[in-house]
Subunit: 101 residues, 2 copies
Amino acid sequence: MKQCILEMTNRISITYCTQCRWLLRAAWMAQELLTTFEQELSELTLIPGTGGIFEVHANDALIWSRKEQGRFPDITELKQLVRDQIAPEKDLGHSDRKKES
Amino acid sequence: MKQCILEMTNRISITYCTQCRWLLRAAWMAQELLTTFEQELSELTLIPGTGGIFEVHANDALIWSRKEQGRFPDITELKQLVRDQIAPEKDLGHSDRKKES
């Protein structure tokens, strides 16, 4: 069986608190990122945690921590943070220009 | 900042074909597995691929290949396969007894 997987090395992880029931928003953000960065991402990992954790890492850099920021990212700023880390030249289109998607 | 992440070592990966637009079903299955195996899974990784690939690995063992099986798993049998690999003693409830969930 021949496999053809794109060779890339960009990894995202989203760690979410299961006690807070944040799987749904983590999985939604995962799908948004995998759609927007379809050509750039090699994998996206969902990691169950506890204690109110909600963190996003891009290639091992912490790009969002709910405890540090005091809130969840909105999806546009999360994409901008991911873009800055893994594809700084990428234009995110109208969402980069502060309009609603 | 204190993090409290459960110490487990069970990993699932779902590799899906982006050309076939299988992200949605991969992400759905991911959420089903993360919900059912909330206490057992340490991480679940979504991996974009091409060429019609749809594969599920549990701790590096290939437990589903669409090319080998000729079809997608239904969610009940996928959970049984994951259970057999990572938590063989776990009772999956009524779905194990061939009723609809």
